[in-house]
Symmetry: C2
Subunit: 236 residues, 2 copies
Amino acid sequence: MAKSALPAYEQVKAWTRRHIASGKWKPGDTVPSEAALMQQFGVSRMTVNRALRELANEGLVTRVQGSGTRVAQLHRISSRLSIRDIHEEVVERGHEHTTRVLRAASEPAGEEVAQSLGLKASDAVFHTVMVHMENGVPIQYEDRYVNPAAAPAYLATDFTQTSPTLHLLQHAPLTEASYSIEACLPTAQEARALAIKRTEPCLAMMRRTVSGAHVASIARLVYPGTRYSFAGQFQA
Amino acid sequence: MAKSALPAYEQVKAWTRRHIASGKWKPGDTVPSEAALMQQFGVSRMTVNRALRELANEGLVTRVQGSGTRVAQLHRISSRLSIRDIHEEVVERGHEHTTRVLRAASEPAGEEVAQSLGLKASDAVFHTVMVHMENGVPIQYEDRYVNPAAAPAYLATDFTQTSPTLHLLQHAPLTEASYSIEACLPTAQEARALAIKRTEPCLAMMRRTVSGAHVASIARLVYPGTRYSFAGQFQA
DNA sequence: GAGTGGTCTAGACCACAGA
DNA sequence: CTGTGGTCTAGACCACTCT
């Protein structure tokens, strides 16, 4: 009986998780089959199935049809790295977010940008450069190219009120994105805009977003190393 | 009939996803109820329920009991950043992984380390420092403190055969981890070990792992900026 | 062929929101 | 009160693995 405040499938999940976390079952070990767990918990197969399926989604176990359920190799710890709208992030910390727009114009794409956006070099693209500030301190330099086909009204946005990310999310529904994070030294212009020395290391995030059939935008976001870090956590 | 290669719940998911991605349904809009989708697709409620529940898990819709299902505010884009064992990662690229151990000893924790590991400053901890190389090129400097209570045999490991991460995963089952990524300049020792200039920016990852009741390990991993980047992607 | 998971159904009872 | 989602059951058929 116990206190069954939790749904049955959660109880099965918790029980399984405990065995894995305690080391009683090691990676590669077989987890009791659905039939066995049905008996043990006195629940239907759908319930056990849901429990194990969700654990598999979370990466704790591996399931192979016809073979069985095993404790996953936990080598790849993974956690959600959230990429958030900078405005929202700053405001959530209870701070003031302001923006200084350095450039907002339509210009020919050029070879490199055209290739990333899937356009011709002579096609026009929107190019914005701005600095985001938290309580007046520069925390992000944003250099962004936007595909006019994906967000025709982009340049008309008042970027002191709305961030580019927000405008794009609202007007070019996101279907796909990729990013990479590197360490780099700022260019002269970036250093000037962020008010840092050219020798101060920075985190640079390159982001590329796809909306339906178009590559919507490519952006390079530069964060001063001493003022920003990406963090995350993970729980079994 | 169409080609129903996909399971029914996947078809419901795909149909719903398309409406959201295309912008036909905007954030906040109501998604058809389970009953409505049952009719439309001619499937049982459990099937529709699974489809919508999974979309909710993925963050695409929000469900409120008694109220309904709505398109989620898509502000929080997130993706899984995987933190993997360096050895596995190098080998998977088809390259050779070697290690140069600079230090492997038991020593008093000291204030700062003791605090992170939940020990006293005079308690002994295991301290290892090593450089990981991919085809002979240094790619990671690893400075790690290990809680002896969590992995008593740590120092006996042959680190030229097994990585610290792997040993810990096998002997101190992981229950929790947190990390942060920063940009920094290498210390003199790090620069020397990695064979880079002191002015070359690096990515530094601080990682803390918990195993059961113990903080198992804290590590600082330094990657030369020009030789490494973190990347990820996600799809709606 | 026996055992496993993947999917699906047609019901059911409940908790909750909103009129 | 009606409509919604949250959970659960006792079956079922299938595809797959392993021996």
